[in-house]
Subunit: 540 residues, 2 copies
């Protein structure tokens, strides 16, 4: 398919016909689910994740065509190329080796003839050593007090993955260190954190691959100032994570220690690098961070080695494509029935929408199909009482339901309606996909449910560090498989550049006005000028 | 239009042609914005909110047609009917009078010939009196300690609005009471709260209009048990908000005091009733709750009395309809450039998706157009570093940008790149809508921005209680105007019923198994049985 885009291939065209076929009432989910073999056929367990797609609008014919499409697009080869260090990030001429951060095989991975494993191992050793010293009180704040707060300064990929994992595993946090995320340049964010921390016991972790992110630079400065105002030596309260080849900011230069990430690790894929490794090692302990890596590694291996027909993230990616390009859904809901996974959806929202919200093929041609969609979600059962009205009776969208067999707390024996809270949660987890799929006819249209609304159900035995790692890797691989299918580059993000350029121009006007209040604000755009004047006049 | 649905009317049909016209390059936003009158024409300020829709894909012709459509649908009359106490919730034969909770006109509002104002005033007086007694330490916990924690037990509409307002105004919280939200039946939620509270100083506020919400009943029991286990008299630590005519639960019966809401106030519209009033009065003080009501009242009056052409929430609703039904966008992003508004999107997500995710007209006919869409969002600039890649170069979706001139904190003078953090925030707020609208051509498709991506910008002078009330009322009225245009009932939510029924069946199986471990789980559904067995066996 050198010159053909994916939608010009034969399996794609046959899938378009397949989508027409799926308009028939005989292929309503209610009809499909009457087949008693269906659940066995369309559910699989691998690498600790049970994946049930029996309530997706597919049958064996659909899946066969999707597998054919995957082969046509050579997505397994591309995934292997990625894991082997090939420069799959073509626009930036870089490898994409987040999986190398959890390569536990002992085998080298070469980029430009150099094995990257030694430098990655060195970083891990730095993380182990540093986190242990903090936990043992060998490294302390500038007044000699041990650290009890870690504030991650970073935005986007520099914190969303870490926030997801830290929230998922907070019940394991026994190191007497609380974690906070200073992401937004909005000072309200810092103001709220200041109320919770004691500067004498606070370590700031500044994270920026490029060291040029405006928000992070601004917050670094604020934090430095805050420490100075508290009479402390800020350099003893600052560590940093940056790209090895990025010129350090003034503050990064002065920080206690710098941990490296590398140009072959993108921000949104960086939670298993030092970006996540440093804060998570402090918060949970280095061993738990390693356990998390082991889980991710296990799923990486599954994604790389399982056959197309048995590959969970690949099957999920193919179904996403089917739902998006053929059945024309425009969003994916992620609904974990587990509060510790409350930050999964925001992380996958970035991972997916920033990776796959693209309109250009890897060959630089305009993509002639729709790529990404919207990813959003809240935990169940909360979501049921919020936006599920739309899911059941309004515009349909596919959903990932996620369940966990064993909760992280010790179960109480207090029953309501004869069941525990955990059982109540599961009663809902089990019911919702069924209600969405089956629907229910009623003479009163108000009480009628059309059904045929697709979902998958993912189940984990528990929320251990390993399993959270598996879940992360599952979503990463799924995102990437879909990008490889569409032949887009999931590793760049040029779409965020234009806004940055425009903000730079406006910032210049502001800076001039700050220097000299007589400066006439002028951006050559009347709307921008209006807002600038409103801001400086203090009134709209 | 007695028998005609809205899409069969003449203005709708002309709007369909208008949408075709808008495919022309001459109506690209870049072209539209070259008109220097545009910003004056398409921005308005009323009731404290500045609303700029100059970057929406409309021109004067479009707006004229939309205004005509609004008249055709009699939406102003319907809005007035609602505020006057008419039973606009036709499926449940109820009035919809959330606006009465902030009716400061002194005029009566009749339902079934009865003025509802006296009972609403009584509730407000109860709130004043109770919150003052708590703040003065006249009401204390069962060991005589004053209350320093309020835990709201409630899900969906019983907490999302309160969470939004409490988060927006937390910098005003000077009553030494912290607020927590126990919404999810997932006990992880309670477990996390337990780590933050002291039972001796904790007041639980159980909120359920019906007193039958399974999640809330389960959490009430857990909280009661928790207090008992701490050696306290739980009845001294429990208050409740319930529908006046709802039979109280065992725990509501025993609570210290019960505050009423009424059948004419729906959960997702209830933040200005006792549902929000009790927790917000405790957290912020009754006076600030009243100031919040005053702001909401001011916007209610604007929505009710402003002409169609000058009515902010109505214009917003018409543009939503234009974007949804004619330009075929499927989601709305809500991006406040103000961290205190971080819970606005989750609240509006419920408000909008539960109200307008319907497929049936008020006359009980199947609606023959698409109604609701997906609402989601995160604060800026965070969102820029998360999912804005898709917004700029992938699938387009309209966005509400929200800015606040004066932050709630005292500004520091620490500059980065010559600007304060607040200015940096605004540089981005100003730039993003421009980048989305204008785009930028580039010979390299990867760096090319197609532009023509619509957004509105809303600006408030500050985040005072009054302004937060205005913002709430703006979104409520906007949601309702759109429902009235489509002729759907925004006050019921039958779409959540089927899942509840199915969960009830599964719960029964669980309860039987809890009573007798030999019970064979059987729900007549092999998939449900599989999951039930996995849960009880502890392994999948």
């Amino acid at each position: 398919m050198t010159d053909l885009q994916i939608n010009q291939t034969d399996p794609w065209k046959r899938l378009e016909k397949e989508a027409d076929r799926f308009q028939q009432p005989t292929l309503h989910l209610k009809a499909l689910l009457s087949d008693h073999n269906r659940f066995d056929l369309f559910s699989k367990k691998s690498a600790g994740i049970f994946f049930d797609y029996s309530r997706q609008r597919v049958d064996e014919n659909t899946m066969a065509l999707l597998f054919e499409l995957a082969k046509k697009a050579r997505i397994m080869e591309k995934f292997n190329d990625m894991m082997n260090g090939k420069k799959v990030n073509v626009t930036e001429n870089r490898a994409a080796l987040h999986t190398a951060t959890r390569n536990l095989s002992g085998k080298p991975i070469h980029v430009d003839g150099q094995d990257v494993m030694p430098e990655l191992e060195r970083v891990k050793e730095d993380l182990r050593s540093f986190s242990e010293k903090i936990h043992q009180g060998k490294i302390k704040g500038s007044t000699g007090r041990p650290f009890s707060h870690a504030v991650v300064i970073g935005i986007g990929g520099s914190y969303l993955g870490t926030e997801f994992v830290a929230t998922a595993l907070s019940s394991f946090a026994d190191k007497n260190i609380r974690i906070h995320f200073l992401s937004n340049v909005d000072f309200h964010n810092f103001d709220a954190i200041k109320r919770k921390i004691d500067p004498l016991e606070t370590l700031f972790i500044s994270i920026s691959k490029s060291n040029t992110t405006a928000e992070t630079l601004a917050n670094e400065k604020q934090a430095w100032e805050y420490l100075k105002n508290a009479g402390l030596d800020p350099s003893k309260h600052f560590v940093s994570v940056t790209g090895k080849d990025s010129p350090p900011s003034a503050i990064v230069k002065k920080s206690l220690q710098t941990f490296h990430m590398f140009d072959y690790i993108g921000g949104r894929y960086s939670v298993s690098s030092a970006v996540g490794g440093l804060p998570l090692s402090l918060f949970l302990g280095f061993d738990r961070f390693c356990a998390f890596l082991e889980g991710a590694s296990e799923m990486d291996t599954h994604a790389r080695t399982a056959s197309i027909e048995n590959n969970l993230p690949l099957i999920a990616a193919l179904i996403d494509t089917w739902n998006n390009n053929f059945l024309k859904y425009t969003a994916l809901g992620i609904i974990p029935y587990a509060s510790p996974l409350s930050k999964l959806a925001p992380h996958i929202q970035q991972l997916y929408m920033e990776s796959n919200g693209k309109s250009v093929t890897t060959e630089g041609k305009t993509l002639n199909i729709r790529s990404g969609w919207i990813v959003f979600g809240e935990p169940g059962t909360n979501a049921q009482h919020s936006f599920f009205q739309l899911a059941h009776q309004g515009m349909a969208f596919p959903i990932d339901f996620i369940g966990v067999i064993h909760p992280q707390y010790e179960e109480t024996h207090c029953l309501s309606k004869g069941v525990t809270n955990h059982q109540e949660l599961w009663a809902n987890l089990i019911s919702q996909p069924q209600a969405l799929a089956m629907g229910k006819a009623d003479a009163d249209p108000t009480k009628s449910f059309s059904g045929n609304r697709p979902s998958s159900t993912l189940v984990l035995n528990d929320l251990s560090p390993e399993n959270v790692g598996k879940l992360l890797s599952f979503y990463e691989a799924r995102t990437l498989f879909q990008a490889f299918l569409w032949d887009i580059n999931p590793f760049d993000q040029f779409g965020v550049e234009l806004g940055k350029v425009l903000a730079g121009n406006i910032r210049k006007q502001m800076a001039k006005k700050n220097e000299n209040n007589a400066h006439q604000l002028n951006t050559n755009n009347p709307i921008s000028d209006f807002y600038l004047n409103a801001l400086f006049s203090g009134n709209i």
